[in-house]
Structures are given as structure tokens and as C-alpha cells.
Amino acid sequence: MGEIAKVAVIGAGVMGAGIAAQVANAGVPVVLLDIVKAGAEDRSAIAKGAIEKLLTTEPAAFMSKSAAKLVTPGNTEDDLGLLADCDLIIEAVVERLDIKQALYAKVEANRKPGSIVSSNTSTIPLATLIAGQPESFQRDFIITHFFNPPRYMRLLEIVTGDKTRADAGATAAKFADFKLGKSVVFCKDRPGFIANRLGVYWMQKAIVDAFDMGLEVEDADAIIGRPMGIPKTGVFGLADLVGIDLMPHVGASLFGALPPTDAIQTTNRDLPLIKKMIAEGYTGRKGKGGFYRVNRDKGKAKETLDLVTGEYRPTRKAQVDAISEAGKSLAALLTHDSKHGKYARSVLVATLVYAAELIGDAVDEIDSIDESMRLGYNWKSGPFELIDQIGVDMLISLAEADGFTIPPILAAAKGKTFYRVEDGRTQMFCADGTYRDLKRADGVIMLADIKRASKPILKNGSAALWDIGDGVTCFEFTSKMNSLDPDSLTLLSKAIDTTAKNYKAMVVYNEGSNFSVGANLGLALFAANIAMWSQIEMLCAAGQATYKSLKYAPFPVVGAPAGMALGGGCEILLHCHAVQAHAESYIGLVEVGVGLIPGWGGCKEMLGRWLTNPKRPGGPMPAISKVFEMISTAQVSKSAAEAREMLFLRPTDGITMNRYRLLADAKARALAMVETHKKPEPFTYQLPGPTTRVGLDAAVASFARMGKATKHDIVVSGALSEIMAGGDDADVTRPKTEDDLTNLERKAFMALVQHPDTIARIEHMLETNKPLRN
């Protein structure tokens, strides 16, 4: 199997440029070509402009600004020669067969033998694309269908044709998996593949039914949303997001490409109101508004479209008794005797039946459909997982009562479930009526699998310790949002003892959407509100002591974050011997946002790292200023690459692109460290003392004068500057120990947590999820 060392992307639109950025994020050089813009002086202006735009889009396309240097812009007239050493050439041009085919001829003339060519088409079948192309092209051609935005959406649908050589799909898939971090689903060569085919069906059905059954937009989104594990944007909110004008477009090509007997045709309906909206520019968030809008004439009032009158009215809270009355039972929602229950049933039963119809047509296995909807549409559970929640028999009876023909796989599953756990292994139901083990990709270790098959070594309400084999333990946060509380610390302390006694290494890892959002602020605020200062101080001290014992553990500890690692969640990483981070790791010390400073050794560790940073010579002051700035402005890395630049990660720490491979990579790293593990040398801090404070405080004061720092910012920064200075009795001739620094942290923390303005910040953060600028 060949390696992909260089990539070309042709077509620098939103998708093409985004794909190129993600290739660059993987550290792989990429050529980005587009057509020559008529009359432009710079013949590669389009591709260059796309790169410029990539650098400013939100959310960011590049994981680090330096990744942009790996993208070489060009145009399809002068620079086709650049394709000659590319191993993968991705076409992402406009969805027109003639244009694509003309381009393919040029590509074929310039590419090296054995390179893979792929199209990012979302609707045109592979067979159509390669019709008339030379045999060699057909052998090397596949479809790679990315989702928008390519950096963040983890699904990649790959289609190979009858004529595609055996290893082309596998090579591309491996590259997508390891380098681009994608979860690959192989689809049959059918229109819309899996995710969009089912997704469009679901959206069309939900919208058409909402019109037919007279639902309010808010109520429809409340129903076709959270209760089904679907993002809270529901269906109308999602339409606003993707663009209402896009829907008829995608719809039309699917309706045209699929046979007249396909159930999707029943959702093909002209809705005059939507036509009118598109015609008048109400295309969603990018346009004048959509089903929802913010009316700036009325002081940013939120408004919702009335589907009957076509007029906007003030947005109101969803009023759906069916949801509260059904509780967590999806079956109870679908059978709730109300308009809302009927709507839920009408949309979901049809969608799930259609999902079952795709088996054998779009793909053979149910887990491919589930994975596609989870990663392509951000559903929490895929359709077959939803069917298991409802009950297969229950769904069949509902579907039969509603006049559906039961698709074969659903009929075959009668009396069973689509997934089951056998001897700790998850199995899925297959079209032939048997169950087969769910297979992870080679080398992938998932904690979820280990948890299913074994019992924890230690466990309490907030954390657990698992044996992940080969003498390695995994410390997992299990609390809500993986926030840290006294129980997390207690268990971590025990985990260190247990691992030291019976194991070789430990990984700190979990499979929540965020590694940890930091200390449980709710608990802290409650304790502060009832003035339990001694308890808060004990918690602060306990965190410092526990993290210290982690740092000086006799075995290697590898932190493996993904998603947010903030506050105390960042501080635990700073105390690990190494970190293997998922590329999408957002790391930072954000305590000042709630009027506090890092109190679990975060100040101490960051100061140590920057003071010993060989790239930053010139005495302690620049290092101190840098750490002060990062903490006092609560900077958070927008990727693991950025975290490395900020020294939240060491230069030697690793980055894993694929979320599924993070635990395996972390474990491998931990094992590799076992032989040579030594307790780290404690830092000694030569800090200049009060003179530093004066400088830092003066900087904050000038920010305050410019209106960039608030009254309480000055208080919090003042507390921080005292730590950074090493306390009021410090000078360079009297070095400070790590314990001196943590004592300073604790003192500052306790002073701040009793400050009414800090309490106000914590409360505001908890209530609104936004920082209070007081």
C-alpha cells in the first residue's frame, strides 16, 4: 500500500480549500488549484484568496498559522505540473459533470502513475464520473465525500467502483484515518451515499409534516431535536444554518437520481412559503433571516416565522407537554396522544424505516449508517440505536399501523435488538439474521469497549480507574462535563497509589466530548455562598497535593486530552510526564474569567516551563510576562498545535489526528517511557520579586486606562502578579521552591474566592455561560 506524502486539491471553494487546510494541518504538503480568474493580474488569485480566507474563517480552518505555509496555491492552466509528485489528487469543483470530466482529462495527463484521484462530489455516481475515462484513470479513481467544515466534521464517505484497483480505497482511507483524523465509511455507488440521503429525507419529512400538521417552528425543533438525540437546532434551525436555498438544490438532484419508487420521492413537495423565502433572500443565517431571525429594527428581538401566515412573530419558548410527559422514553413520545406526539411519530418512524431501507442499497451494515449520522449530522445516536431505544417490535407495530412496508432487515430483527453485548463485546445485527462483532479499525483502543468488558479497578461518583492492558491503567473522569470535584481528586490520589503498586504506567483519558472543563464551579459557588472557606481551602490544597504526587509518581503518566481541557483540566495535563493530545484540543488556564487564578499548580508549572524555555532567552522577565499575559487574559489554544506554541504542551508531546486512536497512542507513549522513567527534577524559581509586580501591575493599569481591563480584572491580575513575582519577599538570590509557588497560589486563590466580585463572576458564568466583565 502506497504512502500519501503529497496531496493536491483542485477547486478552492469552501470545501476544496477546507480539505486542503486539513491536509496541511496533518503536516502534509498540499497544492491548491483553481481556475484563472478572468482579467486577474495574478493568475492564481482565486487559490491565493482562498488561503487568505482560510486564515480568517471562524471556526479556524488551520490548526496553526504555520500550517498555511504547506499549502501551495496555483491555477489549473499553468500549474498542472505540480500534480506530478502528488499521491492523492482531490477534485472539489462545481457539481457539473462536463466540467469535472474535462478536468479529469487534464489531471490524467499530468499525474504520476499510481496516484489516486478522488472526487468530492456529493451526488454524482462514480460510474457516471468515470464514464469514458481511460482504464488507468478508472483504476485509480474513487469518491471521497467530505462534510463541511472539513476540519471539524469527522465523517468521510468513500466510494470505490468495480474498476477501482483494490488498494486505492484502502490507501486513501488509511490516509484519511491517520492523517486527516476522519472516520471512514465505505458506501455503495448510490446517489447521496448515506448521510445526505438519509439526512435530506429526514429534513424534508420533518419540514413537510410541520407544514401539514400545523406545528409551530419552535415546537417542531424541540421535538425533532433533543428528545431524539439530535442537536437542538432541530430541523428548521438546521435549515437556517445550512442555507434554505441549498435544500431544494440538493433535494432536486437526489429526487432526480433516485428511482421513482424510492421513499424519498414522497417528501418531494413544493412549499410555496419556502419558495417565496428564497426568492426574497430569506435564505437562513447567511441571508436576511430564515425560519428564525434577529430583528435589528426591534433591538435584536428574536423572531420566528409563522408557517401559516408567513409573517415573523416574537420567538417563544417551545410548549410541548408531550416531551415532559414522555420523560426519557422515546416510545412514550411517539405514542403521546397529542398533535406533538403524532408529529414526532410521523417524522421519526418514517426516517427510521427509510434508514432500514438503505441497508443493501446504500450500504450493507447498520453501523455504517449509525456512524454516518453521528459524525455527519451530529446525532447522538444513529437510526438503529434509536430503533433499539424505541424497541424493534414497537417500531414495527407503529410502522405497520401507519401503512409502511417493513424493510427486510427490520422484519428480520423482530423480537431482537440491532445491537447487543455478548461477553463484553458489542455485536450488531446483520442482514443475514446473524450477529457479528463490531470491529474497530486496526490498532484502535476504545475505553468504552474496555468498560463494557471489565470492571473498574477503582471507582467513585466522579472518576474511575481502568486496566487497559500491558500494565497500563487509565484514569477516567466520569462526572458531569468531566468537572473536577473532591471525589475526582480522592480517586486520583488512590489511582496513583494503586498504579504505583501494581502497574507500570497510567494514562489520563476519557471519552467525553471534553477532557475536562475544570473544577466544578457549582460546588465551589455553593460552598462560597455558605461561606465554607475552610472547605474551599482544603479543596485547593488537596488539588495541589494530588497533582504534585502525580508529577512525582514513580511511573510515567501520560495525559491524553481531546476537546476542552480548561482550568483544573489543563493543570492536570501540566503535571503529567508527557501528553498525547488529540489535534482538536482546546487547552487553557481560564480561571480569571471567574475572578480566580489557577490554584492547582497551573501558575507554578507554566512559569517553570517558560522560564526554562530555550527558545526564549533574556532573563526571567519575558517569560514571566508571557505567562502573566496568558493567564490574565485566559488564553485558550484553538488546537493542539497552538497549545504546543503556548507551551501547554511540550515540544516533545504528541498529537493524534484521529479521535479513535488517541488512547492507543497515549498508551504506546506511556509504555515507551516505562524503562527510562525518572521522577522529574523539581524546578527552582529565581524570581525578581516586587519589582516584577510593579511592572506587571503597571501594564494592567494601562490596559485599564484603555478600557481593556475592568475593576475586578485589576484585582485578579494583582493577585496573579504577586505569584508571578514569587511573593513580596522574593529576589533572584533567594530561589523559590515549587511548594513556595503553590502556597502563593493558594493564598491568592483564597483571597479572591471570598471577593464579592469573584462570586458574582462565578454565578454569572454558571447562569449564562458567559464571563461577567465587572
Binding site: D321, N529, W533, E763, E767
Partner: protein
């Protein structure tokens, strides 16, 4: 013969020394309420209560209100007393001058309320409910309704009621069925049956304004579908005088344990004409405006009864000669010693006294916070005061009525067998006080309000309004000379309360039954700690005056001595309460339902 003397000396201590009463004049609208204005008001209130209301208390209880020919007749003397009460302007002391009220601060009104409750609780129900109606109408009524009805409610010509409860629903008002159908003229036709309507009918006022919760056609189920309506007993005739009977009438009177002079009516509404108060389906909001006010007032009822019972018990203990002191005769010149020499009698008297004076201080402080919540110009202070009132409302209601009931029972006990005899009056206070633990939300509901709503709200923000000042007080006073005997017990109880709060909040998150099982004990623990804070503050002030020229009547000495008794003999209950709370819900919930 029972007696009552308004405890003006203690009230003035609370108002002017404990609370710096004159600072109230810095609040907008209260500029005029200097001490030389409020003092005579308290004196006058004491006079009418002692001389007019109190003498009718026993006779009113004996005679009771009766329903005759579809009309309620109040006991003899009530009409005349009400006339005097009204003419004195007492119906409107707490009301806005814009509508003819006196506009007194809540922190002064609370003492007047206490005096009324001590002297004649049943009588006090009439103006009390009118005030509830006034509060709701003022907060949510249209200008038209306010201009039409408020002045008459304020001057007492008309009275008000609150019609919430129905035969099948009290606590769970979401179930209520009374209907309101829109009429062509913009008014509504109200039909349904309401029960437990205090003052639903009476012969004291020329009209009665019922505030009725009802459902509009097609209103949502539950509490989100309830609206509030104003339904007068009489509608205006052509001359604009209320003479035409509206479609509502008392169906019967309840036969009840206490407050017999207050007519508790079943009210039938049969297409009665009514006006919507506030927005459709927002009736609960308006209802809570008056409910919170009423809950504080009900707490004061408990205090008032505890006070009057205590006064009579003291008198009896001094007068009743029986046996000799355990340590030898204290009054050898008499045939026997008065029973006040006995430790157990003194225990009972001091218990009631310590509860009464503690509650008086706490009640006044909450009333002061209510003044701040309504008027403080600094939005931060105003918000803090709102939090404090919200937090303390269930505590004042439940704690004061529980302790008041305890005190009135001790008051009976001091009398021995004579306490059981009606003519001595002590048993009436027990009976009258019993209702205060039940209405306006039973004390169990108050405890649930505290642990289920007030405690978790905004992650404990309401708690802050109590815990932070107390923590600061302990910190700043613990080293002061002579204060340790008061500060240390307070600090101990405070720690217990902190521990219980953290624990109940934590457990309650995982299992609401845990919070439910802890609720009543937690409220008591909280209440006793709040009283301890008041007692420590009072002792702190009084200590400086003990033995000085201002202590010639031994007021400050007694204050310190009572504080000592509270700290040593009553506050230790907090230890047992904490143990009970920490035991959790298991033994309560594990019991099989069928085995009861």
C-alpha cells in the same frame, strides 16, 4: 382574666438599637418616619390592641361567627371594634399614600401586626386578608381597577379575600377547576366553588372584594393556565353604589379548631361578574405577590400568640402559690412559694421568652429587608435584600408558627390543669395558633420551598444573603471581650448549618427524596441558627449597657440573661438536628407503604 400588654420596650429595642431604626428614613418615601413619628404610632397601636381588640378575643372565640339566612354575622362587638380600627386608619398603615394609606415601613408595621395577633388573631384576619388583596391588586391590576378598588380597601370601607383553594385542591393549585368565561363587555363570568375562604362573608364592611383564581376557556393545563379575577360581593347600582348582589355567596361555614370568630366560608360563584387582574394565565404570579406577604404575616401570628401566652404564664407563675422551692422556701412569709421558683417552670417561661424575643428581632430584620427590597436606591443592595426576603420567608412562616405553637403549649403547661379550662384563655392560643402552621402553605411545604427552591436557586445565591453577614459577624466579634459565650455557640451552630446545607444540597441533587426527608429538620436548624445570630447581636449590644444608667429597669440585664439561656439551653438542639439530617432518607423511604 387573661391580660395583654404590648411589649413596646422590646420592640423599641429591636427597632432603634438592634436595627438602627432611624436609618429607615434614608429610603425614598420613608423620609418622614423619624422616631418622633413612629413612636406615637406604636403607642396608639398598643392602645387599640390592648383596649379594643383584646377584650373581644375570648368572647369572639366563645360566640364565633355564624351564617344566618345566607349572611355571616360576626361576634358581638366586632362591628364596633372594626369601626374604631378603620377610623384609626389601621387598615391602611402599610399601604401607599397614593391610595390613602399611611405608607409605614414594613419594619414598623410588623410590630403593629404582632400586637394585633397577640390581642385578637381572629379579628386580625379581616384587615390581614384585605391587605393581601391590596398587594396583589396593586402589583398586577390595571390602573382602572386600582383607582376603583384600592382606596376603599385601604380605608377599610371594603374588605378583600383570597379565593384559591377548592374542595379537591389546595397545595396543588394546578388542578383547580373554577371557570371564567369572557363576556361581551370585557368582563368575565366566574363559576365554581372555593373553600377555606377567610372572611368570605361578614357584616363589617359594605362590600367584599374577592380575588379568585380561575381558568379561562382553553387555558393550558396546570398552573400555567390559571388567571386571577376580581369579583366583588356587590356590584354598583345606577348611583354607583355597591348594592346589587353579584353571583357569589357563602354556602356554609367550617366548624373548626380555632380562630372561631373568623368566618371560614365555602364560597359559591355562579356566573359572578369579574374583572381580569394582570395577564391571562399569569394568575399564579399575582397570587404569589400576596402569598409571600401573607406568609411573613402568618409567621408573626405565631410570634403574637407566643407572646400573649407567655405574658399570662408569667403572671400565673408569680401568683400561683403551690409547694416549696426544691432548695428551701423562697417566700417563707407565704403559705407556699409561687411556682416561678421551680426550675422546670422557669425553663418553660424562658423558652417561650427566648423564642419570642428572638423571633421578634428576626421578623423585624426580614421586614427591614423587605423595605430595602422595595425601595433601596442601590440596585445591588436592593437585589441582596430581595434574596434575603425570598430565603427567609419560608423560615419565618414555619419557624415562627412552630415555635409559637410550642410556646402556647408551654403557656398551658405552666397553668397546670387550669390551662385546660377555657376561662383562663391559655388553651385558645393553642387552638388559634394551630392554623398558622397549616394555612398559606403548610409548614412542610415551607420546608420544601426552602430546600427545593430557595436553597438551590442560583447555586445558593439566596443563602449568601444570610451566611456571609453571619460569617463576618462571627469573625469580627469572636475576639471581643465577654462575647465568647455568645459567639462560640453561634459559630458552632453556624458550622452545623453549613455542613447540613452542603450535604442536603449534594444529596438532593442525586435524590430529591433526600432533600424532602431533610427539609423540616433543616428548616428548624436554619431557623435556630438565625435566632442565635439575632441573640448574639442583641447580647452584643446589651452587654455594653448592663448595669449602666440605661439598665435601671434591668432590661439589658434580662436581655443578656435570656441570650445566655438561648445559647446554653435551646441552641444545642442544632446538634441533634444535624445528626437527624445526616442520617438521610433511608429509614423513612424504606418503610413499606402497606405496613403503615
Amino acid at each position: 382574666m387573661p391580660q395583654y400588654k404590648a411589649p413596646l420596650r422590646d420592640m423599641r429595642f429591636v427597632l432603634y438599637e438592634l436595627m438602627d431604626g432611624e436609618a429607615i428614613t434614608t429610603l425614598p418615601g420613608f423620609e418622614d418616619f423619624t422616631r418622633d413619628v413612629t413612636d406615637p404610632i406604636l403607642d396608639e397601636a398598643a392602645k387599640i390592641c390592648e383596649e379594643v381588640l383584646f377584650p373581644l378575643n375570648r368572647s369572639g372565640d366563645e360566640e364565633g361567627s355564624v351564617l344566618e339566612n345566607g349572611i355571616v354575622r360576626t361576634p358581638k362587638g366586632f362591628k364596633e371594634a372594626y369601626k374604631l380600627f378603620m377610623e384609626g386608619g389601621w387598615t391602611g398603615i402599610a399601604c401607599d399614600p397614593q391610595y390613602g394609606g399611611m405608607g409605614l415601613p414594613n419594619s414598623v408595621v410588623t410590630f403593629v401586626t404582632e400586637m394585633i395577633c397577640s390581642s385578637n388573631l381572629a379579628f386580625g384576619m379581616f384587615p390581614g386578608l384585605s391587605h393581601g388583596a391590596y398587594v396583589a391588586l396593586k402589583a398586577y391590576g390595571s390602573d382602572e381597577l386600582k383607582d376603583r378598588y384600592l382606596p376603599k380597601l385601604v380605608d377599610g370601607t371594603w374588605a378583600g379575600t383570597m379565593c384559591l383553594t377548592e374542595p379537591h385542591c389546595g397545595t396543588d393549585l394546578g388542578l383547580l377547576r373554577t371557570s371564567a368565561v369572557p363576556a361581551d363587555d370585557g368582563t368575565y363570568r366566574i363559576s365554581g366553588t372555593k373553600i377555606f375562604i377567610s372572611g368570605g362573608d361578614q357584616d363589617l364592611t359594605e362590600n367584599i372584594i374577592h380575588l379568585v383564581l380561575a381558568r379561562l376557556p382553553g387555558a393550558p393545563k396546570g398552573v400555567g393556565g390559571i388567571s386571577l379575577f376580581l369579583v366583588p360581593k356587590f356590584l354598583d347600582d345606577a348611583d354607583g353604589r355597591p348594592t346589587i348582589r353579584n353571583g357569589n355567596a357563602p354556602g356554609s361555614l367550617e366548624h373548626k379548631m380555632g380562630i372561631k370568630a373568623s368566618p371560614t366560608c365555602v364560597m359559591n360563584f355562579d356566573g359572578a361578574k369579574g374583572w381580569l387582574v394582570g395577564e391571562p394565565n399569569k394568575g399564579m404570579r399575582a397570587m404569589f405577590a400576596m402569598m409571600n406577604d401573607e406568609r411573613l404575616a402568618v409567621g408573626i401570628q405565631g410570634l403574637g400568640l407566643g407572646e400573649v401566652s407567655y405574658q399570662n404564664a408569667v403572671q400565673y407563675a408569680r401568683d400561683r402559690l403551690q409547694g416549696r422551692s426544691l432548695t428551701g422556701a423562697k417566700h417563707p412569709e407565704k403559705n407556699a412559694d409561687p411556682i416561678i421558683v421551680h426550675p422546670d417552670v422557669r425553663r418553660m417561661l424562658l423558652t417561650a421568652r427566648a423564642y419570642n424575643e428572638g423571633c421578634r428581632a428576626l421578623g423585624a430584620e426580614v421586614a427591614r429587608a423587605l423595605d430595602h427590597a422595595e425601595r433601596h436606591p442601590d440596585p445591588k443592595k436592593k437585589a441582596e435584600a430581595e434574596d434575603y426576603v425570598a430565603l427567609m420567608t419560608p423560615i419565618v412562616k414555619a419557624l415562627f408558627t412552630d415555635l409559637g405553637f410550642e410556646s402556647t403549649n408551654l403557656g398551658v403547661q405552666v397553668f397546670g390543669g387550669h390551662g385546660f379550662i377555657r376561662e383562663h384563655g391559655q388553651e385558645q392560643y393553642v387552638r388559634d395558633g394551630r392554623i398558622a402552621m397549616l394555612y398559606e402553605g403548610t409548614n412542610g411545604i415551607q420546608a420544601l420551598d426552602l430546600v427545593g427552591r430557595k436553597m438551590p436557586a442560583h447555586m445558593g445565591r439566596y443563602l449568601r444573603s444570610f451566611f456571609h453577614p453571619v460569617a463576618t459577624f462571627i469573625e469580627t466579634r469572636q475576639a471581643s471581650p465577654g462575647r465568647a459565650e455568645f459567639i462560640q455557640p453561634l459559630a458552632k451552630a453556624f458550622q452545623r448549618l453549613q455542613q447540613a446545607s452542603a450535604e442536603v444540597a449534594r444529596r438532593g441533587l442525586g435524590n430529591p427524596d433526600e432533600a424532602g426527608a431533610a427539609a423540616t429538620d433543616y428548616l428548624r436548624l436554619f431557623g435556630l441558627t438565625a435566632l442565635a445570630y439575632q441573640w448574639a447581636r442583641m447580647a452584643d449590644i446589651a452587654l455594653d449597657k448592663v448595669g449602666g444608667p440605661e439598665d435601671s429597669d434591668r432590661f439589658y440585664s434580662a436581655k443578656v440573661a435570656t441570650a445566655r439561656f438561648f445559647m446554653e439551653r435551646l441552641l444545642p438542639q442544632t446538634g441533634a438536628l444535624l445528626s437527624t439530617i445526616m442520617a438521610g432518607s433511608k429509614s423513612i423511604m424504606a418503610f413499606e407503604e402497606a405496613a403503615f
